[in-house]
Assembly symmetry: none
Homo-oligomer: 254 residues x 2
Amino acid sequence: MNIDPSHPRAISLKIRDQLVWGKKQGLTSTAGLIAHGRGEAFDYLLGEKTQKFAQEAIRAAAAYLLLAKQPILSSNGNSSVLTAKEFIKLCHLLNCKIEVNLFHFTKKRAELIEDYFDKLSPGCVLLSRRNIPVVISNIASCRKVVLREGIGSADVVLVPLEDGDRCQALSRLGKRVITIDLNPISRTAKKAAVTIVDNIVRAMPLLIQEIEDLKRSPKSQLIKITQTYNNKKILSSALQFINNRLVILAKRQI
Amino acid sequence: MNIDPSHPRAISLKIRDQLVWGKKQGLTSTAGLIAHGRGEAFDYLLGEKTQKFAQEAIRAAAAYLLLAKQPILSSNGNSSVLTAKEFIKLCHLLNCKIEVNLFHFTKKRAELIEDYFDKLSPGCVLLSRRNIPVVISNIASCRKVVLREGIGSADVVLVPLEDGDRCQALSRLGKRVITIDLNPISRTAKKAAVTIVDNIVRAMPLLIQEIEDLKRSPKSQLIKITQTYNNKKILSSALQFINNRLVILAKRQI
């Protein structure tokens, strides 16, 4: 679809269009489209901008990823369609792998997404047909199956657009979970070590920038960033922001 | 799909299922599914009930429609799939027509929706292949094309699930725009004369009821309803309601 760049909601419409393209390619699930719509609603409430609490979370995420012994980038349908290039850039920056992990799992879709990444940058993504699957815990979805070389042995997992169940399971296994979630009251948001309450399309390039900025910082500085970071405080700030914004908007209407 | 009526989210799942059916029939667009997801999130924040501010807006909408010289009912993919019967009932009650108008326009889809209405009740819908199209303004989408006999010459337009650009353009032309929109901070919500912040599935039957109740009222009473109605106040109440609910939800989460 041709989206007129002068349309006031051109960016949002372009993102929708990418997902519609992803659906046609078999990368995005139908349920993923509805989930994106839910994200859009929260983005409206956040003013469709990266707010201060998100910037702070991005900084902590960068520090955690740089300190990790074996980080992994977990991607699903929507995140691969919207930010494949950013995933690959992170992959090179951190010298780590991408693992495809789907809530609405089909072998075909997982392999399509893997091939999509593999074509963009060969070797970046773990191919499930060549790796050993392991079951991490009693999660009521196919996301419990992970790859031994990937999430199975990672200490820090970047998993944007996660589901709550798995976020909790990964945390229980002692892994640091970093998520990007527009909904600050989701279970994922609460269970992650770092929750970036922002649109993935805005947050991923900022995360890359932050990693590039902190890359040469001494380890002690990175540790300090992670130690002073408080995810509950960040989520609380996000909720306060939405509340304040709603109050201001309500007044403006009167 | 068989949805267990005892499922806590049976109504919501049934609505999703209707849209998935609509997608298969070619009536709903893929992007329409995303838009519905956004609506779902706002409906959650509204407690999935018709609140007082929506009831007040429905009353004003009924008065405007009864006072109109030439009202028109504008339908898109989602609204036709979810509330075709209600559109037709309104059409008979108000002795007016339905016009299909799509944001993600294809001739094929527009005609499919027209045929869908026409089969349910012949003569209710304006058929684009038999009517003269006119361009109403510089809108950055195909929605700028309307039918001369329909939106082109109407004074009051009921257009649930509208986009902001067109809502503004129709208002500029001096038409009264009545919309149903779950997002109280959308441009549509702000630009319409009457914004029913509610789920279309709940609002349409209530609008029919209200029109039936007010049908025999003197014109002076209807005018009074429209004169005392304040859309800005209504939107402000909706925002306040969401705000209060978020505060309660946030407390419950923490």
